[in-house]
């Protein structure tokens, strides 16, 4: 854990590093030729003033920012190179401070201890009978299953620095990872969270104290992004275990990530390289991919709406969704506890920053499991050297291997199976429809689509056969109910579980049984839950990408 003193050191290190980079070629080949000091300042001024124009003019922060940039503008008019440097320093320092926030290690420690029992206590208020009765209080740890390669994490953490990279479906993810890390007896992770989370009425106040630093996605200034990246790098090099969601933002489509943000991902490569070049003790960085699989997703409705809008090119940042509404939280948690739903947090195999698996002792292994010296990847004539193009390529490979691990560690719930089966049947019935026409042809209000139960059961059975094969080949994971359905050849148990979940949390049931037919009441959500099984080429279904074509959604 960082002391206040160390936080200050971190801020100054980041500032120094960003300043040093200005005027030298960028890591990112797409960034074009290096900017001069003056150009960088002009650019920042332009982007920030552009951003401020769209903000609420009465907001205190906005006013302060406006003042700052007005002053800067004035001073910049007749600044010499030395003064320009000082101004730049001011900006980066300001950015870094804002990113670091008011992090207090003491409060943080306390919060990590108190949060899980508090969440449990909150839930006991849900059922009066449970509260007053003799029945057991629901416990979070019975609903969040922490599994996978967790045994080595403690040892790896002692030998190096962890970068936990989970899939991202919900804003609950960071809280759950916090919970998992706590349960595993590991110290808390540092992570960047969107500004909207800090403004969230439910968790906003705790964010800094949960180890979060601020990421303001409205700031498009390249200097800000550089500062952010430097912050992540430096905190890694300071030995802080990090959490970041490599997909960038929550999966809009419901599918697991298809591409990752290489900027932040690259920090693990560059931090390892810097550690080696500086001869730091315990220089190793271990990347730990991890999947978080929900049977129901708190913000599913908002996310899939955004995906559909996004594919239609209207891009916006979600600030207000289910995550900021108490009653949705309560509904969600109530559903989870009442239906005995399990959220799976599954840790995959830890990797070195090149994507090679590491053993319990942190030694990198080649594809055939032979120990290798990963340092060699940086070496030219025996020396570790800097080479941004090379490291970008290593990052690309790391991305590929994390994605492959995501795909293997994805835990499939009954809701995903039922949604996939129903969507497939509906799609096959209307082969000439594109996605939008298909989705708008289904659901209440229009001619509601229904499917005969035996037909759905048969489709599920075929799907389960394929899933069983993939599971046996280690390509996917299955939740306990899905496994039960396969081993007992009992489709009914899966169907019941899925219908129960679908009928419980969402305002409209996603799928509802009436007599011997299944009615799809929310086509978009059906599509959302179906997408979790996308990309496995199951039942010869077309991939999500083919629905959208090039330039599709963020995650495709």
């Amino acid at each position: 854990m960082l002391s206040a003193d160390e936080v200050a050191k971190l801020v100054s290190e980041v500032t120094e590093r960003v300043i040093m980079r200005v005027g030298s070629p960028s890591d990112d080949p797409a960034a074009g030729p290096p900017r001069t000091l003056g150009e960088t300042l002009d650019e920042t001024l332009w982007w920030e003033q552009e951003r401020l124009r769209e903000q609420d003019p009465n907001d205190e922060e906005t006013l302060a920012d406006k003042q700052f940039y007005a002053d800067l503008h004035r001073q910049l008019q007749h600044a010499n190179a030395l003064e320009q440097r000082r101004l730049l320093q001011q900006i980066v320092h300001r950015y870094t401070h804002e990113i670091a926030g008011n992090f207090s290690p003491t409060v943080y420690k306390l919060a990590a201890k108190v949060a899980p029992p508090m969440l449990s206590a909150l839930l006991t208020g849900l059922s009066p009978r449970r509260l007053f009765g003799r029945e057991a209080i629901p416990r979070l740890d019975q609903h969040v299953i922490i599994e996978g390669e967790v045994d080595n994490l403690e040892r790896l953490r002692e030998r190096g620095t962890l970068v936990v990279t989970p899939t991202h479906s919900s804003n609950l993810d960071s809280l759950l990872i916090g919970f998992a890390v706590h349960e595993l007896g590991l110290p808390p992770l540092t992570y960047g969270a969107g500004l909207s989370l800090f403004r969230n009425p439910i968790v906003g106040k705790f964010m800094h104290n949960l180890g979060a630093y601020t990421v303001d996605r409205r700031k498009r200034d390249p200097l800000y992004k550089q500062t952010l990246k430097a912050f992540a790098s430096v905190s890694l090099e300071f030995g802080q275990d990090n959490l970041f969601f490599p997909g960038g933002s929550r999966s809009r489509s419901g599918a697991i990530e298809r591409g990752l943000k290489k900027g932040l991902l690259g920090c693990s490569v560059s931090a390892y390289r810097n550690n080696l070049m500086r001869g730091k003790p315990n220089p190793d960085i271990y990347v730990v991919p991890c999947t978080i699989s929900y049977p129901l997703v708190l913000e599913a409705s908002t996310l899939i709406e955004d995906w559909l809008a996004e594919v239609g090119k209207s891009r916006y940042i979600i600030v207000d969704d289910e995550f900021s509404r108490w009653e949705r939280w309560l509904d969600f948690l109530r559903g989870m506890f009442a239906l005995d739903l399990k959220i799976h947090i599954r840790f995959g195999r830890a990797m070195d920053p090149f994507g090679n698996p590491v053993d319990a002792a942190g030694t990198s292994l080649d594809p055939k499991g032979r120990p290798i010296s990963a340092r060699g990847y940086f070496e030219v004539d025996g020396e570790v050297v800097e080479d941004p193009a090379r490291d970008a390529e290593y990052t690309r490979e790391l991305e590929r291997r994390i994605l492959a691990e995501f795909s293997r560690q994805n835990v499939i719930h009954p809701t995903h199976v039922l949604a996939f089966a129903c969507f497939e049947l509906l799609r096959r019935a209307q082969p000439e429809f594109d996605l939008y026409r298909l989705l708008s042809s289904i659901g209440a209000g229009r001619s509601e689509q229904s499917l005969a139960l035996p037909e759905v059961e048969e489709e599920i059975e075929l799907l389960l056969e394929e899933l069983e094969r993939r599971f046996a080949a280690g390509q996917i994971r299955l939740s306990s109910v899905v496994t039960e359905a396969i081993t007992n050849d009992d489709v009914a148990v899966l169907l019941r579980a899925a219908l129960r979940s679908f009928g419980t949390y969402h305002p409209k049931p996603v799928v509802e049984r009436r007599g011997v037919r299944l009615h799809v009441c929310d086509a978009k959500l059906l599509f959302y839950y179906r997408n979790r099984l996308d990309g496995y080429a199951l039942r010869d279904a077309p991939a999500l990408a083919s629905f959208t074509g090039p330039g599709g959604a963020r995650h495709v």
């Binding site: 009978r129 009442a338 009992d490 019941r496 129960r500 009928g503 009436r514 011997v516």
Partner: protein, 299 residues
């Protein structure tokens, strides 16, 4: 039949008795397999709807807090699945519970995965509004009416298997229904028998009028009574052996499996939960004319 404006899938029925019904399946006219008709209170759920106190409690409870009688949910799954586990056999509920607790009940069904094709609630509010307070706790006319309305939409060759409990008059009402279907109990005798049981005259007449429209056929093939009040089966002994009482879901599951109605797996799953005791068959000799209803109950 009017529709409920708030929830259009429910029909408001006023004759022969005020009730609210949801039907979600139409059976093919040549269907000659089994259909199951279940009571809810004390047959499936461990509730006390017959008592005002119990009735008031239900809407304030969460669906998950309601308890099913041990093994009955598995029994419902087994019956629905049939010998193949996949048959989706017709399953209907008739309950004296008032419609205002339908959300809680149907939610419980969703949570337990009880698939049903129709459910009829007794419209207690309407009975209250009519100031017929005696009919609040007397369910004969309601149940006969609800059963007859179902029989009307059923294919003629269907085989009905009925499930109730011994806390009320389920056995008697089911037997009367069997005799009505077969054409033995109709007209004045039906009216008088109901009145003898405490049914208001106008309801008794309406039930009889409805019965008159039904073509005479044997439809009922079995009556199964959960022994909740008298576990020794005392309250079914007066019927013949077409009526059986069961002390546990597992006990009746064994018989149902022998009779080819549920699969072995279905039976095992019920027994896993609760399988104690053995069923008790009615002891009265079979009536030569086929009557299910004991003569002394008839007017």
């Amino acid at each position: 039949m009017a529709a409920d404006h708030e929830a259009p899938e429910y029909e408001l029925i006023r004759a022969p008795f005020p009730m609210v019904r949801k039907l979600q399946r139409t059976l093919a006219s040549d269907y000659d397999g089994p259909a199951f008709i279940w009571d809810i209170d004390k047959t499936w759920l461990d509730t006390q709807i017959s008592q005002v106190k119990g009735m008031l409690k239900i809407p304030f409870e969460f669906a998950v807090d309601k308890r099913a009688l041990p093994g009955t949910t598995a029994l419902l799954h087994a019956l629905r699945g049939g010998p193949s586990d996949r048959a989706h056999r017709p399953l209907f509920f008739i309950t004296a519970s008032p419609p205002f607790i339908r959300k809680a009940i149907e939610r419980k069904m969703l949570i337990d995965g009880v698939e049903f094709d129709g459910i009829t609630y007794k419209d207690q509010l309407e009975v209250f509004r009519r100031r017929e307070f005696g009919s609040l706790r007397e369910h004969t006319a309601f149940k006969l009416g609800a059963l007859l309305l179902l029989a009307q939409v059923f294919p003629e060759r269907i085989k009905i298997y009925m499930f109730g409990d011994d806390a009320e008059r389920d056995a008697l009402i089911y037997c009367m229904f069997a005799d009505i279907c077969a054409g033995r109990l109709r007209g004045t005798q039906l009216v008088e028998t109901q009145i003898k049981l405490g049914v208001l005259q106008h309801y008794a007449r309406d039930v009889a009028a409805l019965a008159e429209q039904l073509p005479a056929h044997e439809r009922v093939h079995g009556v199964h009574i959960n022994l909740i009040r008298a576990p020794d089966g005392r309250r079914v002994l007066g019927y013949d052996d077409r009526v059986l009482g069961y002390p546990s879901a597992g006990a009746v599951a064994r018989v149902l499996h022998e009779r080819g109605l549920i699969s072995e797996r279905g039976r095992d799953r019920v027994e896993q939960v609760e399988g104690a005791g053995e069923v008790v068959f009615g002891q009265a000799p079979r009536d030569p004319d086929g009557w299910w209803t004991p003569r002394e109950q008839l007017a």
